[in-house]
């Protein structure tokens, strides 16, 4: 008799689910009716700098807050702690989505947000406007990075630019021949390395496929890989579904990619320069190139949390990380262009800024910085509605099947 009760309960649960599934009208998606203008919530800005609070909690990309544990010669955290008395607690995040959700916990003071996280953090009120007067090194930041649509609202900066770079194509030189120079290697030519292709595990990777289609299928009319209407998104999804069959594994944890390339489980796929450097340091024969189609990339900004518990230490960190010497160190270690113009004089390789086109705005026209796709097309089209990040997220689940 007890048994029948349990069955009834289970059946009731199922019926509830079914009923729920069939009911409800289609209100579809969330409340995303922002018109043209982007309005930031009213979050107060810091007016004066006080004494350090003794510690600072930061969210960073791998390689942005090195304390010598990966490479004893790469350490700009301990000198900071010594100089300011702010102990640094670092949380490394693998994707922008992870950064956004970590910031929502309210436990962190500052974050190295890419362009696809910055506006989300501003809109949700999790990031505060940054008083650039309190960051002396801000004056030397390249003009091309100041007051950009992804780091400011109405001329008010919401962070300090850190640096920028491109997502690269990495391959094992002993397994992939001839050397690839096109993203074709991970799309049409992926079957050549079936089961050993890798890709970045985030919906934003859809932009990589869109970028490739932009060059190879001009009739689709993609102008900006982050502004895709439904038809264009479907094309990118179809391409990625085909790629899925040849993927060994996706990565978002940089260490996972290092071990996969080192062990030969992955032989070709998208990467960051810092991962290529770490893999090379492990004596694996890899090379990273910028394919001829150009690439997606990032432009990062250090933002301060609206509810930062250690705002003074956070501002000290902002100023420290873009100071010429440190910015040069980070840029060289991560493999990106520094944001501070003075940093170009401090790099160990005197040609670093030239190699990474630090002040070459025309070069960065070829690199499509991560940004959050929204319904209102970012390429200026008004006759069609674009797909937003929620749709990209669902598409990404579908691609991975």
């Amino acid at each position: 008799m007890r048994n029948t009760n349990v069955w009834k309960a289970a059946a009731a649960a199922t019926v509830l689910l079914l009923a729920v599934g069939c009911g409800s009208g289609g209100s579809g998606g969330g409340g995303d009716d922002r018109g043209g203008g982007f309005r930031a919530p009213d979050v107060p800005m810091k007016k004066t700098l006080g004494k350090g609070e003794g510690q600072v909690n930061i969210i960073a990309w791998a390689g942005y807050a090195e304390d010598g544990s990966n490479d004893p010669n790469t350490d700009w955290v301990h000198p900071f702690e010594k100089q300011t008395g702010c102990k640094v607690n670092t949380k490394v995040a693998g994707t922008s989505d992870e950064m956004v959700s970590l910031m929502k916990t309210g436990q962190y003071d500052t974050v190295s947000a890419s362009g696809d996280a910055t506006l989300r953090l501003i809109a949700s009120g999790d990031a505060a406007p940054v008083n650039t007067k309190l960051v002396p090194n801000y004056k030397d930041i390249f003009a091309g990075l100041k007051k950009q649509p992804f780091n400011s609202v109405d001329g008010q900066m919401y962070g300090i630019p850190h640096g920028r770079g491109a997502n690269l194509l990495m391959y094992r030189t002993d397994k992939v021949k001839p050397a690839p120079d096109s993203w074709r290697a991970v799309f049409e030519d992926a079957p050549k390395h079936a089961g050993k292709v890798t890709a970045y595990d985030s919906p934003i990777y859809i932009a990589d496929a869109a970028l490739y289609l932009m060059k190879t299928e001009p009739q689709l009319g993609i102008k900006n890989p982050y502004a895709l209407d439904q038809k264009q998104l479907d094309a990118a999804v179809a391409l990625l579904k085909k790629q899925h069959g040849n993927i060994g594994e996706y990565w978002s944890d940089y260490q996972k990619e290092v071990t996969a390339f080192k062990g030969g489980d992955s032989v070709i796929g998208t990467t960051w320069q810092v991962i290529a450097n770490l893999t090379k340091a492990e004596k694996a024969p890899v090379k990273a190139v910028l394919p001829k189609e150009g690439a997606t990339g990032w432009s990062d900004t250090w933002m301060v949390a609206a509810k930062a518990e250690h705002p003074n230490c956070a501002y000290k960190w902002l100023d420290w990380i873009v100071s010429p010497k440190v910015n040069a160190q980070v840029a060289e270690y991560f493999g990106e262009a520094p944001a501070n113009a003075e940093a170009c004089k401090e790099t160990a390789d005197p040609k670093h800024c030239a190699t990474y086109h630090a002040d070459d705005e025309s070069y960065y026209k070829r690199v499509h910085f991560w940004t959050t796709p929204v319904k209102q097309c970012l390429d200026g089209r008004t006759n069609v509605q674009c797909t937003d990040y929620a749709q990209w997220t669902r598409a990404w689940t579908e691609i991975k099947g």
Binding site: S27, G30, R120, P203, E249, A390
Partner: protein
């Protein structure tokens, strides 16, 4: 019999003893489940990922109408069933040997061997398998002379590692049941002319069936909810746990709706097991 006062006292003491754990169960455990289920009826702002408290059932509708979630649910269910069957097949002979054949030091050694994996951290074991299953790992090295290659990272690897991880949870109850099995039963079966196979089928199996089912509750439900092992050795495979984990950061309400799926599956499984009488002895 003493007067009613001491009986009231005993009752009070019993109540004091039981209240904290019951509160814990009710508030912390069932309460969190209720909150989870409740948040499945909310939605998110598609831009900021903030949870918007508007009551709607879209998440469940997506779940039921989108074919990708059906595929993932069936795949996850398949993994849980496969892991359970593999563990049952491995645990039976192993537990039988430990309970009925081995004695003294041997049995203790085997017992330690079975329990030892439980002492090591879950992640350590999963990463150990990642290393072993890799291109230049131990599995491929051992199989190479035979002209074979290992499964690599993927669904078979995920099933293999999950089966390894949860095996002790199957062996222990089966071992306990076999240990309780009276020797005269086996002797009687032999005296009556039954062979080993027939004895196993007609005497041993019915005796350990409740234990097998109890063990399967662990292997089944643990496999249903797992996502780390799949992430580490599963290659590009996506199971329910992975989808939930990736949606938690982007769309908490959808993740909550998704987590209702394994809950419903486990409840159904428990009901089925209970019907089979496996929980009566607990």
């Amino acid at each position: 019999m003493p007067a009613g006062t001491s009986r009231t006292g005993a009752r009070l003491r019993l109540a004091a003893l039981l209240t904290p754990p019951l509160l814990w169960l009710g508030l912390a455990y069932l309460g969190s489940l209720a909150v989870l289920l409740l948040s499945a009826f909310w939605t998110t702002d598609s831009f900021t990922s903030d949870v918007v408290h508007i009551w709607n059932t879209d998440n469940f509708r997506t779940l039921l109408t989108d074919p990708v979630y059906r595929t993932i649910t069936l795949r996850t269910l398949g993994v849980a069933v496969a892991v359970t069957l593999i563990d049952a097949l491995l645990a039976l002979p192993m537990a039988f040997f430990m309970a009925r054949v081995a004695s003294g030091r041997w049995r203790r050694a085997l017992f330690v061997a079975v329990l030892m994996p439980l002492w090591a951290g879950y992640l350590v074991k999963a990463y150990a398998w990642r290393v072993m299953l890799g291109e230049h790992g131990l599995v491929n090295a051992v199989l190479a002379p035979l002209g074979l290659t290992g499964p690599g990272y993927g669904l078979p690897a995920a099933v293999l590692v999950l089966a390894y991880l949860w095996l002790p949870y199957m062996i222990l109850p089966v071992f306990a049941a076999l240990e309780r099995l009276p020797t005269p039963h086996l002797e009687a079966s032999a005296d009556l002319g039954a062979g080993a196979w027939r004895t196993l089928r007609l005497v041993v199996l019915p005796a350990v069936r409740p234990a097998l089912l109890a063990g399967s509750v662990f292997t089944f439900s643990l496999s249903l909810g797992d996502y780390l092992t799949v992430q580490i050795v599963g290659g590009r495979t996506q199971l329910l746990g992975n989808v939930i984990a990736s949606q938690v950061t982007l769309d908490l309400p959808l993740a909550a709706a998704l987590s209702a799926v394994p809950v419903v599956l486990v409840v159904c499984y428990l009901a089925a097991v209970r019907r089979a009488g496996a929980l009566d002895s607990l």
